[in-house]
């Protein structure tokens, strides 16, 4: 037997139910006293969080950084970071975020002020500010625009106005210490708790050793890199004492550098002869990432001509840094200009395109896409993980 109910009767019945249920239900309590008015973040951060830095190219006065949880894909927080922003730096104890920033007293004009803003990692409130010379370089953001020494004591910032120098900030006293002239040499690459180098236009290095007061001793090496023909990029990654530089064509130059000496180890290629002939090469802005636990190098790869060294790629190739063998390769969901790995034992691979703004999150071990987060910023550049 089929039960037949007239539609009008059914609607009346449902409405009665709704009214009864509504009256039976307790009212929602007020949020006051139950939910905090402002969220805070766990300290230290999860190893699966990532800071996506954005120089907001169409509106460069409004630099930003976004914090995303790679496990849930949840957008956690934002920092506003001023004009021509490069990237934040995370203290190793997880408590502090350092952000070299530039401001003008009237937005895009007026008095220029450069500062390092110290953000509390839990509240993201500006907890302090260190004035630095208004010379911070304005360029396509690179991880080597600003670095911390290996013990976090000194923050080093590359200057270009267009004279080249490095600003030294003492994170302990929270004071600007000095400016180190590095004529002809660019960017900052740490090599220990009290040392770093800059790379000079002729392929030599300016090795800098600091003392506990931040005073510097400089050593200029012979040219170690050939800058003609197939030059190196300024986008190397570091594993221990070795900086892995890559050339435009995809040749790896391992540089072992310390406070006073440096040497390039035997080079090797990301590609076979056949792959090079087919046009395979690395590309992108943050085109390399390193898994220090497994000694693996990840590279964004694409096919293109000699001047496509900044082009995005849709493939990631993975190399064992001991054997130089390619051990894995996988296709990405979207074009990518930046990749970054989390630093834990089950690493995530984050991928983003400067013109795409979808953050894609992969299992680094398998290359499987786990999730993606839409609308992350405007022109995302460098990613930083704890």
């Amino acid at each position: 037997m089929r039960l037949r109910i007239k539609p009008v009767v059914l609607i009346e019945a449902l409405m009665s139910c709704a009214v009864l249920m509504g009256s039976a239900r307790a009212e929602l309590p007020g949020d006051a006293g139950r939910s905090p008015e402002v969220a805070t973040l766990a300290v230290p951060a999860s190893k699966h969080w990532v800071w996506v830095n954005d120089f907001v190219f169409p509106h460069m006065a409004d630099g930003m950084a976004y914090l995303i949880d790679g496990d849930s894909g949840r957008y956690l927080a934002t920092l506003s970071t001023g004009y021509s922003f490069a990237h934040v730096l995370l203290s190793r104890d997880g408590k502090r975020i350092y952000s070299p920033e530039t401001y003008f007293s009237r937005g895009t004009r007026g008095v220029r002020t450069d500062v390092v803003t110290l953000y509390d990692a839990g509240t993201l409130k500006a907890a302090g500010e260190i004035a630095i010379p208004p010379k911070r370089a304005s360029n396509m953001p690179m991880i080597a625009n600003a670095v911390l020494t290996d013990d976090d004591r000194f923050l080093l910032i590359y200057n270009f106005n267009p004279a080249q120098s490095v600003t030294v900030v003492d994170t302990q006293t929270r004071k600007f210490v000095r400016e180190i002239e590095t004529p002809g040499c660019a960017l900052v690459y740490p090599t220990g708790p009290r040392s770093f180098f800059s790379v000079c236009g002729d392929g030599s290095l300016s090795l800098v050793a600091l003392d506990d007061a931040g005073a510097a001793q400089q050593t200029r090496t012979q040219p170690l890199f050939n800058m003609a023909g197939d030059p190196i990029t300024e986008k190397p990654v570091r594993l221990g004492a070795i900086w892995y530089f890559v050339s435009f064509a995809g040749r790896i130059y391992p540089l072992e550098a310390g406070p006073r000496q440096a040497a390039v180890k035997p080079s090797w290629w990301l590609t076979s002869d056949a792959e090079r002939k087919a046009g395979w090469r690395p590309g992108g802005l943050q085109q390399l990432a390193v898994d220090s636990r497994r000694s693996r190098l990840y590279a964004i790869m694409h096919r293109g001509g000699v001047e496509t060294h900044k082009d995005p790629g849709k493939d990631v190739w993975v190399f064992d840094l001991s054997s130089h063998e390619r051990v894995q390769q996988f296709a990405l969901k979207n074009l990518s200009t930046s990749i970054q790995l989390s630093s834990d034992a089950q690493p995530l691979l984050f991928s983003i395109f400067i013109d795409g703004t979808d953050l894609d999150i992969y299992d680094a071990a398998t290359g499987k896409l786990l999730r993606f987060v839409q609308h992350v910023g405007t022109t995302p550049t460098i990613m930083v993980t704890p």
Binding site: C185, P231, H309
Partner: protein, 184 residues
């Protein structure tokens, strides 16, 4: 993102004709070159019969160029633009020789050597940038040829050279293409 999208579309068509693949990143890098002093192979570029920059995206303002200075200054194909990278000031309220109202001309420039098809001579072109306002965002003209890393500022298109004095400090708006003189 509007200009960026336009950039992608306009550039993609022009670029696809001559390269396998270009990215907006390359364009972005080249924007900064717009604010950059990059003597990018000026002789070689001057020798090129036709400049091969990106797309213009805007109509020519004003009257047609005189016969001695042929072409559309708001077009990337304009002969003076053989080594330019950035937003063309002719599309932003200025011209190929003049900064838009309210900006400051950067004292630091990069140069190219461009071939004038009208008189058959090569000219040294100074790509002074106009600074002090946010990016104009119109008539982007880009190329990545000869670009190297930031280690060689004179050959890197990733620097913003809208710096160096109190007036033209950092905010990049657009680029001019001023004749310095005939190349000897």
């Amino acid at each position: 993102m509007k200009w960026l999208d336009a950039l992608s579309e306009n550039s993609a068509r022009a670029l696809a004709r001559r390269t396998s693949r270009r990215s907006v990143l390359a364009g972005l890098g080249s924007f900064l070159l717009g604010a950059t002093a990059v003597p990018l192979l000026p002789v070689a570029r001057g020798a090129e019969p036709k400049p091969t920059g990106g797309a213009s995206g805007a109509a020519a303002p004003g009257a047609a160029a005189p016969a001695a200075d042929p072409g559309d200054p708001s077009s990337c194909d304009y002969w003076r633009h053989c080594a330019i990278d950035g937003f063309l000031c002719g599309c932003c309220g200025g011209s190929q020789a003049t900064c838009p109202p309210g900006t400051d001309m950067s004292p630091v420039t990069w140069i190219g050597t461009c071939h004038n098809p009208s008189d058959g001579k090569d000219y040294v072109i100074s790509y002074n940038d106009c600074c002090g306002k946010s990016a104009c965002g119109r008539c982007f003209c880009n190329r990545n040829e000869g670009d190297t890393a930031l280690f060689q500022p004179g050959q890197s298109n990733d620097y913003n050279w809208c710096s160096g004095n109190a007036k033209a400090n950092i905010p990049y708006h657009c680029s001019t293409a001023r004749i310095v003189g005939a190349a000897k």
